[in-house]
Amino acid sequence: MKFERRKKADELKINMTAMIDIVFQLLIFFILTFKVSALEGDFEVKMPLASSNPASMDEVLPTVIHVGLTAGVERNIATIEIDDGMQALTFTQADMFQQLTNFVETTVAREGDPSTASEVEVEFEIDPKLRYRFTVDAIEAVSGRVLPDGTVKKLVSKIKFRPPVE
């Protein structure tokens, strides 16, 4: 018996052209819409509307540091006024934010005694015309300090703003 030689099997070829076209179009879309955005971070501020209920007698009131920021030439910061009930200071030098951090650090260390069981709060009174960047600098100054080894020493987390005067 004679077998017929098998015909060479046709290679099954899938036409890839359409897929490659689509894939390249997708790639171009993603490349063109790709945006390298700067890293952003947050300062959390919790500010409920003032409660009408007076604090109870047993409640330990927190130590509040009042920080006043005033605007000067070209809406830049002119002075920082601090009052924690025990002493009031005014900073005017270029390193005023550093001095603010030092002051807050001292107060936190003093109030950190567990027997007092109170927390430190910072209430800002800000000149409405002051550039916002200085407000952020002040919030940063009371929030913590970057130590030489790169770690952050946290200071105050309770921050509030005094309502602006119209």
Binding site: L27, F30, E40, G41, D42, F43, V45, Y132, R133, V152
Partner: protein, 145 residues
């Protein structure tokens, strides 16, 4: 004259590595695309800070208010000239959150203020939010390393 028949073999390049690479690139771009960026207004120059915490995941409900240096607010793709006019939009946002079971105190309001905007405007914006029972604010800054 007799011509020799040319050997007409089709030259086929192996496209497999290229397609692999292309798919990898597409996967990369798909994973890194950030639709939340749509709410960022690029013209707003944020103040810089080295202490701000990077956002930790998503809040129960959050929305972004962009405050420009001329005092106008960008919210949900709209430019609002005066801060006082934002109240109806805030109410709408609060109602949308409540429908999802998130009470106003748990809503995070992200404020992206221009570094040269007036601090008083930021405070006015916060006041408007407080009038709508919102109390959790995140002041967004550019991280400085």
């Amino acid at each position: 004259m007799k011509f020799k028949k040319c050997n007409t073999e089709i030259l086929e390049a192996d496209l497999t590595p290229m397609i692999d690479m292309t798919f990898n690139l597409i996967a990369f771009f798909m994973f890194t695309i950030n639709f939340a960026d749509a709410e960022r207004i690029e013209q707003i120059m944020l103040p810089k800070s080295s202490l701000a915490k990077p956002p930790e995941g998503l809040a129960d409900y959050q929305f972004i208010l962009n405050l420009d240096d001329d005092g106008s607010v960008w919210f949900d793709g709209q430019r609002i000239e005066k801060i006082e006019l934002i109240n109806p939009l805030l109410r709408r946002e609060v109602r949308a959150a409540e429908r999802q079971g998130v009470p106003p105190p748990r809503i995070s309001v992200i404020i992206r203020g221009h570094e040269d905007s007036q601090s008083g405007k930021v405070q006015r914006l916060i006041q408007q939010c407080q009038e709508n029972e919102l109390e959790k604010f995140l002041l967004r800054v550019k991280e400085e390393r």
